[in-house]
């Protein structure tokens, strides 16, 4: 009765079935982040933050009695690859929800695929206004738009001494950099502040000496820089080398973390708009969440400076998990509907979505907290 093919079949089933059951038991979340290329540092930290959140949620029993499983794809800091990674996550891995794609250019490239396949995307980093005003109902953004950042910065203008009178811009030549420059210019005009030169740099440029030399004689007192962590680090170092007299202010949440360990010339100060300040956990809207995140990050031995970017991934996964819980099932449309109802206590603060964009096809936009920090000789002060 039990001949060898049957024994083999039974053995195969015994091996395969539990594995299949285990696979069914997890809820997949797709992640598309730049893990290589010019903005790899940020993408890596965001992904690490997502891992921290997923582990934390799983250690508390997961969501709907199932563990979360992150399916991580590298979009290689390239919009074309971002689209490929999204299609792979949706069609092959069949994820019901995604997080990504770090940066406006990559996110805008992925967005048509969300409509095509009907999968929601939680945008953890991207500041172009177009993302939530393009009429894509599958997009929910927790990071601030450049306009929000500009307005938040506008409220801090009076705190600068000597006062800001004329501002130059150095922006990465993409949707993010150009969009931020436009919004900050608008805000400065409202405050009667003059705008000087506007210079751009290719995303992979490492030598910025020509741009900085052009800015040297502009007569401005402030330079607003918008780019990723690596290029921001280079811009600050090279500006100090050329003795640029303007004070540097960076936008977009990038923090030149490498300058903590290897500072530039003594006394050189730079100011940064960030969305989480790990140097002052008590200043967070929910210090207990911020501390839980920072402790879990440290337990994984991730580098401390990565906290300023990593929280984006952490908050995004908390939000997605809450949406799945509210939805009661891990299906794309149910998660999309549930995202409108979530109220999450995140590292950055309260997370909830308001409607933006054309009626009937609105995207979700959160209103996050923005911090201003100063970096001088490798030490940080939160303003």
């Amino acid at each position: 009765m039990w001949n060898s093919p049957r024994i083999l079949a039974a053995f195969a089933l015994a091996v395969v079935l539990p594995a299949a059951a285990l696979a069914q038991d997890t809820i997949k979340i797709g992640i598309s982040e730049p893990l290589t290329g010019p903005v790899a540092a940020s993408g890596t930290y965001v992904t690490d933050g997502a891992r921290v959140a997923a582990d934390l949620i799983n250690s508390q029993g997961g969501v709907l009695g199932r563990k979360l499983e992150l399916v991580i794809e590298d979009n290689k800091s390239n919009p074309r690859e971002a689209v490929n990674s999204a299609e792979k996550l949706i069609l092959k891995d069949k994820v019901p929800v995604m997080m990504g794609a770090w940066g406006s250019t990559f996110t805008l490239a992925v967005m048509p695929k969300l409509v095509e396949y009907g999968v929601p995307l939680l945008v953890e980093t991207a500041s172009s206004g177009k993302i939530t005003t393009a009429g894509n109902p599958w997009v929910f953004r927790i990071s601030p738009t450049s306009q929000m950042e500009a307005q938040a910065f506008g409220k801090q203008l009076a705190s600068f001494s000597p006062a800001i009178k004329k501002v130059d811009f150095l922006s990465v030549n993409n949707d993010w950099g150009l969009g931020a420059a436009t919004e900050f210019k608008k805000m400065l005009a409202e405050h009667g502040i003059e705008v000087g030169r506007m210079e751009t740099m290719a995303p992979d440029a490492t030598d910025l000496s020509a741009q900085l030399a052009a800015l040297k004689g502009s007569g401005s007192d402030t330079l607003i820089v918008t780019t990723g962590v690596e290029q921001l680090t280079l811009a600050i170092r090279q500006a100090a080398e050329q003795r640029l007299s303007q004070r540097i202010i960076s936008t977009g949440g990038s923090f030149p973390e490498q300058l903590l360990a290897t500072p530039g010339p003594k006394g050189y100060t730079s100011t940064h708009l960030v969305f989480f300040a790990p140097w002052a956990l008590d200043r967070a809207q929910h210090p207990e969440v911020a501390r839980q995140y920072a402790d879990a990050w440290a337990a994984k031995k991730y580098p401390f400076p990565g906290l300023t970017e990593g929280f984006r991934g952490f908050d995004a996964i908390l939000t997605i998990a809450e949406a799945i819980r509210v939805a009661g099932k891990a299906e794309p449309e149910a998660i999309r509907q549930a995202l409108w109802q979530v109220k999450v206590k995140g590292v950055n603060g309260d997370i909830a979505f308001a409607k933006e964009g054309p009626a009937g096809k609105e995207s979700g936009q959160n209103a996050p907290t923005i911090y201003v920090v100063q970096l001088k000789d490798g030490a940080v002060t939160v303003q």
Partner: protein, 290 residues
């Protein structure tokens, strides 16, 4: 005027680095005619050797330059021996595919070993810039300029004036004739590829404290190196060096006085114009094809 001088100083430093990239590739692409897509990866290898020695092992930067040169030289020799030996270098398709393969393997190995996050190599000099009137330049940039000029002169004499250089040029002009007069052709092939590779690696190490080190940094370096070699004229060492300075000055002054948004485009536009007017490159004599 102040700005003009600052642009000129910046252009000289950038030009020196471009020239180094250019002469390394000229040996391999210009003289050997190997379309070396892995040139940028050798540059990256050198930068990571510097990072490993300076940041991880706490050794001094100057020794790391020698280690990077040695690593690049040995790696180049290995590539030539194992992958190019016996191949028909005239078959561009075959050699190009091999070198693209080397590039992909090297880039992914770097990614596996070091991760995608960029690394910073501390400068061995003071961070405070040296100020000459309205022009400011950091000590490390001056060192890069000086080191690059020394290397450029040394390689010029090596290739154009030494017996070894004559053997190299003879080998790649007419392999059989070189053999007849007693040149060890196989040794020359290995040595030329290794020297070009070593130069790329030492350039990467030299520039590592100026920029950040990451696995994809070689992509842009390769692109610039090919542009410089073509601009200067294939196989012409002085041409590659001058081509490097020319491209840097076009980029620097183009960005300063025309538009920073078109900085790279201006460089390539000028190369296109040169190709239309002088297809053999700025500094090379016309050669017979076929």
């Amino acid at each position: 005027m102040d700005q003009l001088l600052q642009h000129w100083v910046n252009g000289m430093v950038l030009g020196a680095t471009y020239a180094l990239l250019g002469i390394g590739l000229t040996l391999i692409f210009g003289i050997m005619r190997v379309v070396n897509f892995a040139h940028g990866e050798l540059y990256t290898l050198g930068a990571y050797v510097a990072y490993g020695f300076v940041s991880l092992l706490q050794l001094d930067f100057f020794s790391s330059l020698l280690m990077a040169a040695a690593a690049g030289f040995l790696f180049g020799a290995l590539v030539e021996r194992l992958l190019l030996r016996g191949r028909d270098l005239g078959s561009i398709d075959e050699v190009m595919l091999i070198m693209i393969g080397v590039m992909i393997i090297m880039q992914n190995a770097e990614l596996l070993l070091w991760g995608g996050v960029a690394k910073l190599v501390p400068s061995p000099f003071a961070q405070e810039p040296l100020v000459f009137g309205s022009v400011a330049v950091s000590p490390i940039r001056l060192f890069v300029l000086a080191a690059a000029l020394v290397l450029l002169v040394a390689f010029y004499f090596l290739i154009e004036r030494s017996r070894l250089g004559m053997s190299m040029r003879a080998t790649f002009q007419d392999k059989d004739a070189a053999k007849i007069v007693g040149v060890s052709v196989s040794r020359i092939y290995t040595l030329t590829f290794a020297l070009g590779s070593g130069l790329a690696a030492v350039t990467g190490a030299l520039l590592s404290p100026l920029f950040v080190v990451n696995p994809t940094m070689g992509d842009l370096a390769s692109l610039k190196a090919f542009a410089i070699v073509i601009l200067g004229g294939l196989g012409n060492l002085a041409g590659a060096a001058l081509g490097g300075f020319a491209l840097a000055m076009i980029e620097e002054f183009g960005a300063g006085y025309v538009s920073t948004a078109y900085r790279d485009a201006l460089g390539f536009l000028v190369i296109l114009l040169v190709m239309i007017a002088r297809p053999q490159g700025l500094f090379a004599a016309k050669e017979r094809v076929g």
